[in-house]
Amino acid sequence: MRKNQVAVVGAAETTELGVIPNASQLQLHADAALNAIADAGLKLSDIDGFATAVETPQQVCHYLGIKPTWVDGTSVGGCSFMLHVRHAAAAIEAGLCKTVLITHAESGKSMIGKLPRSTPADSLNGQFEAPFGVYGPPSMFPIPVLRFMKTYGITHEQLASVAVVQREWAAKNPRAMMKDPITVADVLNSRMIAYPFRLLQCCLVTDGGGALILTSADRARDFPNKPVYIMGTGESVETPMVSQMETFNSSRAFKTAGPLAFKEAGIAHGDVDHLMIYDAFAHLPLFGLGDLGFMPYEATGQFIADGNTRPGGKLPLNTNGGGLSYMHSGMYGMYALQESVRQMRGIAPAQVPNAKISVCHGVGGMFAASGTIVFTNER
């Protein structure tokens, strides 16, 4: 795909984030969509392309009254929205549609109108993982981390520092769920969830949503907000079973999606001003820094512990506070994209001064899928 041919011209989250007991999951999609439409200065009738995950496109389109000529229901977990951005950019370039709306919402905390997640007993996961006591993401996602730590000499303290640094970012963000400062000792003394991970190394569980609107870069200048261009994109999937990853020393999906996006954007790691790495759990930024090629895996833990990703550091990472401290409704990728767009527009609560290139890297399932988007505010 050619770079900078498509832009984000509308971006918004739900009016409220956190605990939203007065709206169903479907209504949260609509709330985010209406906020994004208003942000872009558009009408719903201007939307001719639509993408969402978990909920079906027909469900959300009917609820909103949208009549699309292009739809994408790619649903590969929390990074689905990165894949939607990639697919939408290709569709707009190919002339299949002009203006695409991408929505996410999840009533992850209040569980109102939330679709059930189940593992059928005759699925491969149902036969070869569920019988051994996996029960929700905290019991599955951290399974690779002890091997990763042993291979690369990563310490418990370094993994705790991920949560500490992200709380520093969250403290600057009025919409963050958790803002009180924490220390490495606080993290290592918090309640054990699934060894080696404790409560403060696991993502939040909240309600919320977000929506993006994309159109061609040539049209993007006519919109009320500063366009944010799609500079590079990548995607991949590996396996729905964490036990069947090729290795626990890296993520094949990350190592495919990330470099694809960098290559398409034509950028080097030193060009990156701002970075988002989907942090469902504290080890993900370490995998991301290694798999995206920022540094050797051995260096990732110390890099974060040394403060390089904190406010004022040389590689600002997860500047909204991340899934650990900002919010995590279940599929956090949309919120990572929203923060990248805010940073590129120059309106983030913890704005990185003069940031021109933002890399937004997502995970789906337990390292099952990945999507990477490189954004820029210069064409």
């Binding site: 993982e129 905290p138 019991s139 951290p142 399974i143 969830i193």
Partner: protein
């Protein structure tokens, strides 16, 4: 751990030989007749070279502890926390999720790379699960 609520696998035509094996006290894997690739989970073709000519064989049941978590909460139905959810790398190459028995469920006792051997845990008259214990000697 064999309480009634524990998740029970339901075999499919492609996996039935595996569950017949565990019931008979065998850990069965598949090997490609064309390229010799050994793989898991079961399927009637080779995921490496796509050949449909594959054979089922009895694995050694030996392996090592590749990684794990010790789950504290929330516990799966039928499990008493804390309990380890392990990934075992078999001597033949494939990895599989399992539990570790005859071993304290602690970081001190569960050493990465420790040698393991398969054991069989009967859930009911249809399903027997492959689990692993520290290898003797």
């Amino acid at each position: 751990m064999a309480e009634p609520q524990r998740a029970r696998p339901k075999p499919t035509p492609e996996t039935q030989h595996f569950w017949d094996g565990t019931k008979a006290g065998e850990l069965r894997l598949q090997r490609c007749d064309a390229c010799a690739h050994v793989y898991f989970p079961p399927r009637p073709f080779c995921p490496s070279c796509a050949s449909r000519k594959v054979s089922i064989f009895k694995a050694s049941g030996k392996g090592f502890l590749y990684s794990y978590v010790i789950n504290h909460r929330p516990a799966a139905p039928g499990f008493t926390p804390p309990y380890a959810i392990a990934v075992v790398e078999l001597d033949e190459g494939p990895r599989m999720m399992s539990n570790i028995i005859d071993c304290p469920q602690t970081p001190e006792a569960l050493e990465l790379d420790m040698k393991l051997e398969v054991a069989f845990q009967e859930l009911d008259d249809k399903i027997t699960l492959p689990v692993f214990r520290p290898a003797k000697g």
